[in-house]
Symmetry: C2
C-alpha cells in the first residue's frame, strides 16, 4: 500500500462538517450532516461513522484506505484522552468522545479543541502555510485563539492555552464578559463587542453618521455595518474600529512577546473587514511589541473560512496517527 | 562506560560560572573564572576550555567522560547555530561561539540564552521540578523570562520568545524603558523600577515612613529596602510593593492565558522579598486569569539562586547532546 486518506470532522452545535483529504492536502470530498443533540448527543458518534463510511463507499475507497479521524469539538476537552468534560451546546458531560467514535467506526480518532483545529488548518493549507510558530485568532461572537509552537498546538497543563479572548485589556471599568471577569479582549474586539461599542458611541454622541442612518433604518447594527461605514470614512465608525483594533493590537503585542510568532492569522466573521481592520491593528501591534518581534511577524487574514476546521482535523490524522 | 558527565557554563559580564553535573543532577564541582573581555572577548572560548579540562583532571575524570557543554550567554543569539549576533558586555559581534568553543575543547556545545538556561535549571532541579509547562521570571535590574512548553524552552521565530519584560503594562503615560518603548513591565516590576516608583512616592508624598528614614540616612534606597519596610507595614512601601505586584500579576495573568502553565517560578534579586511579593502577586494574578488557569498553576520562588544557569546548562548537555 502507500498513502492513506485522512478524515477531518468539525462538530458544531447545528452541523457536523466532514471532509476527506489526502496527504498532499487535496480535498477529495466535503459534506455536512445535522448535529443530532437528542439523548444528550449520544447518537453523534454513530451518525459520523455511518456518514463517513457511506461517503467512502460512494467515492470508491475502502475502510482500509482511511488512516483515521481528526475531530474538533467545542467545550472543555482532555486532548490526550479525547474525553469531553463538558460541551453545553451538544449535551455532553463527561463523555468519552474518542472512545465512542473509535468503537463506532473502528479507526483511530484524535480529538482537538475546535479553535485549535482551525489554527492547524490555516497552518497546513491556509494563510499560515509554511509557518511553524503562529497565533490564530478567531474574531466571531467571541474571541478564540490557537497557539502553534514549532508546528504543534500548545495545550498547557489543563487544556486552556490559547484562551486569549479572556486576556484583560481594559483593566479599569471594563465591560462584563461571559467568563465572569471584566474588560476581556472578547468584550471589545469580538463582533459582539464591536456592536456594543458602536451602540454606546451612538448613544453618547449626536453627530451625523452613516452608521446612525443604518441604525435608524434597521433598529440595530452589526460589526459588519461598523466596518462598512468605517471603510467609507464615517468618523463614528472609524473611532469604533480604531478602538477594537487598538485592544486587539495591544493583546497581540503582549502575546507576541511571549511566543515570537512568524505569523498572526486573523479569522472569523470580523476578519472579513480586511484592511479596514488590519491597518490600524498593525499600527498598534507594532506600538506594543519590539522591532525584532514585529519585523519577523506577518499579520494576515485567514484563507480557509469554514473549511479550516476539517482541514486541521485531516492534518491531525495525517501527522498524529501512525500509518496502519 | 555508561553515564557521562555534563558541563554547564554560565557566561556573565564579570565572571564565568561553571559546574560539572552528572545525569542524576548531582553537582560534582562548581567554580568560576573571571570573564576576560579584552580583544573583544576572543580569549573566552580558550579560557573555558582550559579551565574545564584542568578541573576534569583534578577530580580524576577524562575528556572522554564528558558528554558536552551547555552554555548560556547574554545578548542576541541564534540558538540553532550558536552564533552570537551581539553581546555588548562581552564585546562579541557576529561571533561563532559554539564553533569556537567546540574547536577549543573538542566536545559538542549547545548555546542558549542565559535567562532561558536559568529557567531550565529551575525546571530540572529547582522550584519547577516535575513541571513541564512553566514560566520563569527573573526580576533583577531588568525583567527576564523563560517560557517552557512540554519540557522545552520556546524560542520563537527570531529567538525573542519570553521577552516578557517588554510587555506593556502601563499603556498610558508609562515611564520610558531601555528598549525605547514606554510602560514596559521592566519599568515597574524590576529592582530598578521598584526603586524608581519608591523615589517618586517619597517625592510626591510628605507622610512619615520608615522608607523615608532610610532614604534620609543613606541618600538612596533599593528595592530590598522597599520590601523590608513593606514587611514591617510601612504604608508608603506597601503601596509601592502593591503596585509592582499589580503589574506583575497583570502580565503573568495575560501570559498564563496564552501558555496555561503548571508553575510560575519567580527568581532574581527581587524574589528574595518572598511572601511580601508573592501574596499581592497571587491576588492580582488570579484577578487577571481564569479559575481553570490559576487553579492549575502554582507560583513559587526560585530555589537555585546563582546556580540555576549552570544547572540548566548541564540539563541541556544531558538532554540535547547524543551520548558519544
Amino acid at each position: 500500500m502507500g498513502d492513506k486518506i485522512n478524515i477531518g470532522v468539525d462538530l458544531g452545535g447545528t452541523t457536523i462538517k466532514m471532509a476527506i483529504i489526502d496527504d498532499t492536502g487535496k480535498m477529495l470530498d466535503k459534506w455536512a450532516i445535522a448535529t443530532n443533540t437528542i439523548d444528550n448527543g449520544s447518537h453523534i458518534a454513530a451518525d459520523i461513522s455511518a456518514s463517513v463510511l457511506k461517503k467512502i463507499e460512494q467515492i470508491n475507497l475502502n475502510h482500509a484506505d482511511i488512516r483515521g479521524i481528526g475531530m474538533g469539538a467545542p467545550g472543555f476537552i482532555d486532548m490526550d484522552t479525547g474525553f469531553v468534560y463538558q460541551a453545553v451546546n451538544i449535551g455532553w458531560e463527561n463523555y468519552p468522545l474518542k472512545e465512542a467514535l473509535e468503537q463506532a467506526i473502528g479507526l483511530p480518532v484524535i480529538i482537538e479543541n475546535d479553535a485549535n483545529m482551525a489554527a492547524l488548518g490555516e497552518m497546513w493549507l491556509g494563510a499560515g502555510q509554511g509557518a511553524k510558530n503562529l497565533i490564530c485568532v478567531t474574531l466571531g461572537t467571541g474571541v478564540g485563539g490557537g497557539i502553534i509552537v514549532d508546528g504543534d498546538i500548545i495545550h498547557g497543563v489543563s487544556g486552556m492555552a490559547g484562551e486569549i479572548g479572556h486576556i484583560t485589556v481594559v483593566p479599569k471599568d471594563g465591560d462584563p464578559c461571559n467568563c465572569g471577569k471584566k474588560g476581556c479582549l472578547e468584550t471589545v474586539s469580538s463582533a459582539t463587542g464591536i456592536r456594543r461599542m458602536a451602540l454606546d458611541a451612538l448613544d453618547y454622541n449626536d453627530s451625523e453618521s452613516t452608521l446612525r442612518e443604518i441604525f435608524d433604518r434597521k433598529g440595530d447594527i452589526t460589526a459588519e455595518d461598523v466596518f462598512n461605514c468605517s471603510a467609507q470614512k464615517d468618523p463614528l465608525s472609524e473611532a469604533v474600529t480604531e478602538k477594537a483594533a487598538y485592544y486587539l493590537g495591544y493583546a497581540l503585542g503582549a502575546i507576541s512577546m511571549v511566543i515570537n510568532p512568524e505569523m498572526i492569522v486573523i479569522g472569523g466573521g470580523v476578519s472579513h473587514a480586511g484592511d479596514t481592520l488590519l491597518k490600524p491593528l498593525t499600527k498598534y501591534f507594532q506600538l506594543y511589541s519590539l522591532p525584532r518581534i514585529y519585523q519577523a511577524c506577518t499579520i494576515d487574514i485567514a484563507k480557509l473560512g469554514n473549511d479550516a476546521g476539517v482541514i486541521g482535523g485531516a492534518w491531525l490524522a495525517k501527522t498524529k496517527i501512525k500509518n496502519g
